[in-house]
Amino acid sequence: MIELASITKTYRSRQGDPIHAIEDVSLAIKEKEFVSLVGPSGCGKSTLLKLVAGLVTPTRGVVRIRGTEVREPFPDVGIVFQSAVLLPWRTVLDNVLFSIEMLGLRADSHRDRALSLIELAGLAGFERKYPWELSGGMQQRVAICRALVHDPSILLMDEPFGALDAMTREEMGLELLRLWEERRKTILFVTHSIPEAILLSDRVVVMTPRPGRLARVLDVQLPRPRTVEMEFDARFKDHSDEIRRLIFARRQEPAHARRA
């Protein structure tokens, strides 16, 4: 469904030097698949997400969605960021309906859909509350509802639980899976947390530090529905050992070798 064909993205720094964010990345993601991107900071994970959204155009290579080349932003995607970035003057319901308004659709015809999503996200009774009255985890739930209200087929999540405390984070991950079971989407999920990536995804894409390349694409061998107990599963440990090896192997190389 999503196809990245030998994508390279190079930025120019203020001094005029090229910065290779991503180099020669090819990846195909199937319909309704849950794929995580893990890798050290600055490996171009977020850039990859923006490329899929059409917010950034590749220097080389092509992004295709269902066979059509992506050249500009398109509305069939929902985006969730690390911070909820809700509008403080809007209630929970109106924040969710923000997507509808910005898309130029009629808010009142999507109200029921928004309300049922809010309920599904465990926020029933909070429709009229303002963002500052909610905890960080609840704000992020609102942001997820906002990304889903126009029923996009692709959900892009850029470290969506990165700003939450560890306990809320685990809970939110499982909630997201529950939501995903109900409303199947193709999810591209950027995270720093290896356990989170394994627990949630069908496949985990491990990236190398700058320039970001694919180190390995890993099929997660755990059955669905996933539970927290699976973290004690031998396969879980194998996966996480392998991902750690891939990420830390490069770090242990001497600095001069890496630069070469």
């Binding site: 059409g54 960021f81 509008l87 923000f98």
Partner: protein, 278 residues
């Protein structure tokens, strides 16, 4: 109950108390040391003079208020669109911003006589001076606010293919409102100063003129009365802007209050609350 009332009134009662205390000390000290009244008058004398000259002072207050508000309105009308242009156009920003800073570096008091020469000694020159001192904080604050829009929200709007105008109306401008209002609060008090500076340089109306003419006749009571009215005007206008801010973006004040740390309770207070709750 009484404690709660006291907590709410404290921000008003404390400064009022300090002010009244200062006035009392002033009055007593002046009487004891017999300071010449024409140099610095007594608070009681100022109040009596304000009352005696109330009609005269009110007429001139009205002129200064009018000049201030006209200059302030002009600074909003020019400053806000200018801020928008500076944020949206990098070319305009690099072309105009240094010049704006230069206009602010020139002391307004220095160009006031020139402006009076150009625009005459009437109200127009005062309005222009008030505008010149007030518009800069509006431009800077509004531009800062517009530039501070979280990039995620801009990406989000772009992914919905919303137009720049729609993004401005629904996201950027409301996000910048708290910045805009802090610019207005600085600007409104500066407008008062601008109008009075203009009146100092040359006029036959306004509280600035009252101060100049009263001091030249050693009527310091009257000069102080005019100063009193100027302060009341500036504080009143500031309060008015703050009130409008609360009406326009209540979420900002509410979110801020939510974050305020509640004061610590002593064991004694806790026991009192428990006893009251039964």
């Amino acid at each position: 109950m009484l404690a709660a009332l006291e907590r709410r009134l404290r921000p008003v009662l404390l400064p009022t108390g300090v002010l009244l205390g200062t006035l009392v000390v002033w009055e007593i000290a002046w009487r004891i040391f017999n300071v010449p009244r024409f140099v610095v008058p007594l608070p009681s004398g100022i109040l009596a003079e304000t009352w005696a000259w109330r009609g005269y002072l009110l007429t001139h207050s009205w002129v200064t208020l009018y000049e201030t508000l006209a200059g302030f309105a002009l600074s909003i009308a020019v400053g806000t669109p200018l801020a928008v242009m500076l944020v949206y156009s990098p070319v305009l920003r690099s072309a105009l911003y240094p010049l704006l800073v230069v206009t602010q570096a020139v002391p307004k008091v220095a160009i006031a006589p020139v402006l009076l020469l150009l625009l005459g000694a009437g109200e127009v020159s005062k309005v222009v001076i008030a505008f010149l001192v007030a518009f800069f904080p509006i431009v800077v604050n509004t531009a800062t606010g517009l530039a501070a829009t979280p990039p995620e929200l801009l990406d989000l709007s772009r992914s919905y293919r919303a137009s720049r105008l729609k993004t401005f109306i629904k996201v950027r401008f409301p996000m910048a409102l708290p910045f805009f209002f802090s610019g207005l609060k600085v600007a409104v008090t500066l407008s008062v100063i601008g109008a009075v500076v203009g009146e100092f340089v040359g006029s036959d109306k306004g509280l600035g003129y009252v101060i100049v003419s009263a001091t030249s006749y050693w009527k310091s009571n009257l000069a102080f009365a005019a100063m009193l009215l100027l302060s009341v005007m500036a504080v009143g206008l500031f309060g008015l802007v703050e009130l409008v801010e609360r009406l326009v973006c209540p979420w900002y004040a509410l979110a801020r209050e939510q974050q305020e740390v509640v004061e610590e309770l002593s064991v004694k207070d806790l026991e009192k609350i428990r006893a009251a709750a039964g």
